[in-house]
Amino acid sequence: MQVTLRIKRFNPEADTQSHFENYQVEVEPTDRVLDALQTVKWYQDGTLTLRRSCAHGICGSDAMLINGRNRLACKVLIRDLGNKIQIEPMRGFRVLKDLVVDMEPFFAKYRQVMPYLVNNDPVPQTERLQSPEEHERFEDTTKCILCAACTTACPSYWSNHEFLGPAAIVQGHRFIFDSRDQLKSERLAVLNDMTGVWRCRTIFNCVEACPRGIDVTKAIGEVKKAILFGKT
C-alpha cells in the first residue's frame, strides 16, 4: 500500500526552524513505521536522521511522536495508522537533527535517582535471594527501557524541566521496592521534592505513552504513599 509520511525535518546547519516534508512510500500493511522511515532514508533521502538500534522494541532508541502520540517506531504497524502518518521528534528535548533529540538531560535525571542496587551486607557466595512475592512488588517497573516516551509525553515535564520526570521516578521505584536494596531513605529523599514526585499531577499521559505497558502513574503513586507513610 501507498502511504504518505509527513516528517518534521530540522537541519541545524541550514535551518533556523523546523518544517514538514512529505514522502510517498510503498509498504506492506504489516510493515512497521520504522520500515517506512528506513525506506525513505535508504532509497529517497539519505539525509533523514533518526535513531534506531535493535529495531525490536527492546533498546528504546526510536521513540518518536507518531500521529501525535509517543510510540516506538519499531513497534507500530502501518495498518494501525492508516495511509497518512505524521512523524515528529519527542517533545520537551532539544532537537539535534530531524528525529534525533538530545537525551542528556533525560539521563542526567536518571542518574540522580541512583539507578543501581546498593547493599552493604557481606557479599554472599551465591545470588542475593528474593522470593517471587518480593520480586512481584517491583516487577512492573523493571520493564522500563529508558526510551523517554513517558517523560516527553508529560505536561509537567514540558512546563518545568527541573522535574525528574516519570521515567526517573519509575527507576527510583524499581529500587525503593526491591527487598535487597538498602538505600531506600536516600532514594525517597531524592523523590520527596517539588521537582520529584510532587510535580506529578496524575495526568496519565505517561501510562498512555509507555511502549512497555508500565503502569507509570501507579508506580509514582506508590512512591508518594511510601513517602507519606514512611514504609515501603
Partner: protein, 129 residues
C-alpha cells in the same frame, strides 16, 4: 552522584514535609468536598430551588447552628483545596521567582481575605432588625 547528593541535602535541609502533607491534604479535602459540595448543590437546587434563594432563606437557615458549621466546612475546604490547586498551577507555569512570588502573593491575599471574611460572617451574623 553529586546531583542526587544535592537533592538529598536539599530534602534534608528543608525537612520537606510540606509537599507530602499538602498532597495528602488534597486527597483528604477532595473526598470531603465530594460529599459536602454535592450535598450543597443537591439541597440548594432540588430541595430548595435556586429561585427561592434569598436573604430571608439565609437568615432562616442560619438559625440552626448546624447549617453554620456546614457552611464553615464548605468555605474552608473549598477555598483551601482551590488555593492549593492554584499554587500547583502557579508553580507549574510561572517560572521567574519574582513573578512567581508576586502572583502567589496576590492569589493568597485574595484567598485568605475571602476565608477570613466568610468565617467572620458565619460566626457573627445576627438579624439586627
Amino acid at each position: 552522584m553529586s546531583a542526587s547528593a544535592e537533592r538529598i541535602a536539599r530534602a534534608r535541609a528543608t525537612g520537606n514535609s510540606f509537599e507530602v502533607l499538602s498532597w495528602f491534604f488534597m486527597r483528604l479535602s477532595g473526598v470531603i468536598l465530594m460529599f459536602i459540595v454535592l450535598f450543597h448543590l443537591f439541597y440548594m437546587h432540588f430541595v430548595i430551588g435556586v429561585d427561592k434563594i434569598n436573604y430571608a432563606l439565609v437568615v432562616q437557615r442560619w438559625e440552626n447552628p448546624l447549617w453554620r458549621v456546614f457552611d464553615l466546612f464548605l468555605l474552608f475546604f473549598a477555598l483551601t483545596h482551590g488555593l492549593n490547586g492554584a499554587r500547583y498551577v502557579i508553580d507549574d507555569y510561572v517560572h521567574g521567582s519574582g513573578l512567581n512570588l508576586l502572583v502567589k502573593s496576590i492569589v493568597y491575599t485574595l484567598g485568605f481575605a475571602l476565608l477570613l471574611m466568610g468565617t467572620f460572617i458565619i460566626f457573627t451574623f445576627r438579624i439586627t432588625s
